[in-house]
């Protein structure tokens, strides 16, 4: 499916660009974004190294395990296939917590680590497990509690109450995450 979407985005983009005489912009996008991918990777190296280093301290000191124990029931319900006490449990929780706190790249580092741990439980190489799918579906439903960038934006444009969006945002985020979990669970068992 990603195969088709990737093709369609590029195909429609280039064809539409040619028709509307926008081909200059397309050229800039091709060259610019390829470089952007490298720049982004390099900036990610630093942040990911930092967070993986810090979190490895928490892993060795047992702090990560203590935090995981508190939230373990959540993981047990969402990811019944993960063996109790498996590292995937802890990294998934670290990713969720980092996401809730709005630590974008830190969350990504823990999330990729969680995927690696989930793959160690994968009986079919190259094929997603229910746990992986559920983990990503939850991630893509947004978890961040306080949308700081948006509050800042509202403040900059002179809102009379920039933080007024916090309540409805948390409610919307919570409900959409619940929806995502239900939809994700409904699809489990499907083969395609």
């Amino acid at each position: 499916m990603l195969n088709t979407i990737w093709f369609l985005m590029i195909f429609v983009g280039i064809v539409y660009g040619i028709i509307t005489g926008n081909i200059e912009v397309i050229n800039d996008a091709i060259l610019g974004e390829a470089g952007e991918g490298v720049t982004l990777t390099i900036s990610l190296i630093g942040i990911m190294s930092l967070w993986l280093g810090i979190m490895n301290i928490a892993e060795e000191s047992g702090l990560m395990n203590s935090i995981s124990q508190v939230f373990r029931p959540v993981v047990r319900i969402l990811f019944p296939k993960i063996p109790r006490g498996h590292p995937a449990e802890r990294w998934i929780l670290m990713n969720f917590i980092a996401n809730m706190l709005g630590m974008g790249n830190g969350a990504t580092a823990f999330g990729l680590k969680a995927m690696k741990e989930l793959d160690s439980l994968n009986p079919h190489r190259g094929r997603a497990t229910n746990s992986m799918a559920m983990f990503l579906i939850i991630n893509m439903s947004a978890l961040q509690l306080i949308p700081l960038t948006i509050i800042k934006l509202r403040y900059d444009y002179g809102s009379s109450n920039p933080t007024a969006i916090v309540g409805p945002t948390i409610l919307a985020t919570t409900l959409s995450t619940i929806v995502a979990i239900i939809v994700g669970k409904l699809f489990e068992g499907g083969r395609s």
Binding site: L2, I5, W6, M9, I10, G13, I14, Y16, G17, I26, A29, E33, A34, G37, T41, L44, I45, S49, L50, L52, G53, I54, N56, I57, A58, E59, E60, S61, G62, L63, L101, M103, L112, M115, R125, M132, A133, L136, N139, M140, S141, A142, I146, L148, I150, R154, Y157, I165, L171, A172, T173, L175, S176, V179, A180, V183, F187, G190, R191, S192
Partner: protein, 173 residues
């Protein structure tokens, strides 16, 4: 207040973790080095996926084909009661986070932060995530080719959450 919280959270987390580790007698310096060593490998592994997805997004956004789709969909979105101003945001949000933020800035700039479109856009931006990028990156990092139901489920959830968000925004406005 928000500013203090947002700036303080990362240093406090780091302080807590290394403080706890030190007290517990962990060789925190070596533990850090060992963990950090994985950062480089992880980042390099995801680079091809990042480039692939950024190029597709860049071409698609640059061509302004999105505006065409937004216009084509307008009768349907109007029928569904979706505020016209936020349709571009709904379209770009699953594709690009920075693109979504740019559109929120436009909406807030044009209609004002306390207008209804500005209000809905802000809440929608805060309660949604990029979808294609996340799937490409996370599955790419461990070489998963068969994504099964992941994308379908994410898109269906996103569609439902749009209506939830508009409804909640209306309740609180």
């Amino acid at each position: 207040m928000i500013d203090i919280v947002s700036k303080g959270i990362v240093p406090i987390i780091i302080l807590t973790i290394i403080g706890h580790g030190y007290v517990k007698g962990v060789d925190i310096y070596s533990a850090f080095i060992k963990g950090a060593g994985e950062g480089l490998k992880t980042a390099i592994r995801i680079m091809p996926y990042l480039i692939a997805i950024l190029i597709a997004i860049g071409i698609f956004r640059g061509s302004s084909a999105l505006e065409m789709f937004t216009d084509l969909l307008r009768p349907i979105t109007n029928l569904l009661g979706i505020p016209e101003e936020i349709v571009p945001l709904i379209m770009i949000r699953p594709i690009s986070g920075s693109g979504g933020l740019g559109i929120v800035r436009d909406i807030i700039g044009n209609y004002g932060p306390d207008s209804f479109p500005g209000w809905v856009a802000a809440i929608m931006m805060g309660s949604s995530e990029t979808i294609f990028y996340t799937i490409a990156l996370y599955f790419g990092s461990i070489g998963i080719k068969d994504h099964r139901h992941t994308l379908k489920a994410a898109l269906i959830s996103y569609a439902i959450s749009i209506f939830i968000t508009i409804f909640i925004s209306g309740l609180y406005y």
